[in-house]
Amino acid sequence: MHIPDGFIDGKTAAVTAVISAVGVGFALRQVRRELPPRRVPLLGLAAAFLFAAQMVNFPVAGGTSGHLVGGTLVAALLGPSAAVVVVTTVLIVQCFLFQDGGVLALGANVFNMAILNSVVGYMIYRMVCHWLTGIRGRVTAIAFAAWCATVLAAISCAGQLAWSGTIPWSVAFPAMATVHMFIGVGEGLISALVFLAVYRARPDLITETAQTGQPQRLGELVRYGLLATLGVAIFVAPFACSWPDGLDSVAVKFGFGHKMAPLLPAPAPDYQVPGIHWAIGATAVAGAAGSLIVFMLALLMGRWLVPKPKDL
């Protein structure tokens, strides 16, 4: 999901850069405040871990290893702000050292994979944990949360591509969303298995702050939530609803329609690929059904992986 340079245009790059800078800046401040000094090197090592773990080659479909993000996993282990910093670090090193993902596109990549993925993943994880208790609940929660976060990040990516005019929404959304609904299964499975392995061997390594529901945590999540909502509103909402038409007519009414034109995302495309317009609806339905199915699968996996405790 690493967008290369040239695939998003100037305005998208600029907007995402600003949003990401705000988000990462906030995450850094949070981390400085809540992470004890002895854990600071852990951020760098966790980033190295995320990268090195990919070498262990999890076969996804047909022997190819998926390019996994791991934001939700790190958020469950170290907390959401730490996860934002860690994944941002991975993205920066991947960009400059391995030329994976563009330089100007860093803003978009950071928003999708570091902020949206980690934070929304964490929120869903905590919500499900609240509902299903115990380690079984956590396994289910992290699997489901990682899946949702992957799909959401993909949708946001599609929105950015569409906003730039590179690929129209009606193609980008179904393509990215459906592919990542499958990739997300792998990410959910791996996140859950790794979390469980760590929990069993060294439960003390899982940062307490990631688990306990402190009141300050709420404020932190609200701020991230606002940022995420802003991003989604800019990149996804115009396509998901009939906003542009509304905005368009407003712009025409007030006489600055022609000036706004390059800034507004293109409305539903008028080109000749047959049947493509139903793809959006189909994807949305698939997404809703998919979430239910994945949640069920996650529950089953929790049951399978964690035998019912006898004495607890």
């Binding site: 340079d5 002895r38 852990l42 951020l43 070498m55 920066i92 090193v93 392995a197 080109y271």
Partner: protein
């Protein structure tokens, strides 16, 4: 509070020689390598921004940049095959855009623009990152006021990336040597244990690093 058992063993040989990881071309020497980092990165950034923003019609710009990059590439003595292989990473993305836009009225212009821009930008980054030591890139980031915590995290990630990759590879090989069952299910759980162990080792190492920093006076 975690158990403070110190590390009792470690390996000495570098195992990871997977070619796509090898960016050791930082070790070569050439006029491009010797250029100071800050202006190099600055020029690269300007080229990337301008290329992304330039409208399709400005052919002279694209041709000019392409010429400059090819010249720089030849001067830098980077192996051409290596550069080409890195550029290939773009191919699935470009292919996707080509497919989508073939049906569109102004399609050819669009996908050509995307293809050209992405190749030029990627080539710029390949050139700069392989002719500049990473520590200098970090220094430039520090000078543009990137927060210290982020710089430290990036520096530590870069420093321990290869150490952890070696550990991951070693564990994977050891696990593979003892894997007799063919089932997918066992495979996944075994790999997950290995990855879980990798995280635990990374955490323990992080603590030892903190101790080493304190031992030399860090506050």
């Amino acid at each position: 509070m975690p158990c403070r058992r110190p590390a009792l063993q470690f390996q000495t040989e570098r195992l990871v020689t997977v070619h796509w990881i090898n960016h050791h071309h930082g070790r070569l020497d050439s006029p491009v390598h010797r250029l100071p980092a800050a202006p190099k990165l600055g020029v690269a950034l300007v080229i990337i921004v301008a290329t992304v923003l330039a409208p399709v019609q400005w052919r002279a710009w694209f041709i000019g940049v392409a010429g400059l990059l090819v010249l720089a590439m030849l001067l830098s003595r980077l192996p051409l095959f290596f550069v080409f292989r890195r550029l290939l990473v773009l191919s699935p993305f470009v292919l996707g855009v080509v497919l989508v836009n073939t049906f569109q009225p102004a399609g050819r212009d669009k996908w050509l623009a995307v293809a050209v821009k992405s190749v030029l930008c990627l080539l710029t980054v390949i050139l700069v990152s392989n002719t500049t030591p990473f520590s200098q890139i970090l220094r430039v980031l520090k000078s543009i006021r990137v927060p210290a915590l982020l710089i430290t995290t990036i520096a530590l990630m870069h420093r321990y990336l290869f150490v952890l990759m070696d550990e991951a590879e070693r564990m994977r090989r050891a696990r593979a040597s003892r894997t007799f069952m063919r089932g997918r299910r066992f495979h996944w759980r075994a790999l997950a244990t290995v990855v879980g162990q990798l995280f635990i080792r990374a955490s323990e190492r992080a603590e030892r690093i903190y101790d080493a920093m304190c031992a030399r006076g860090w506050k």
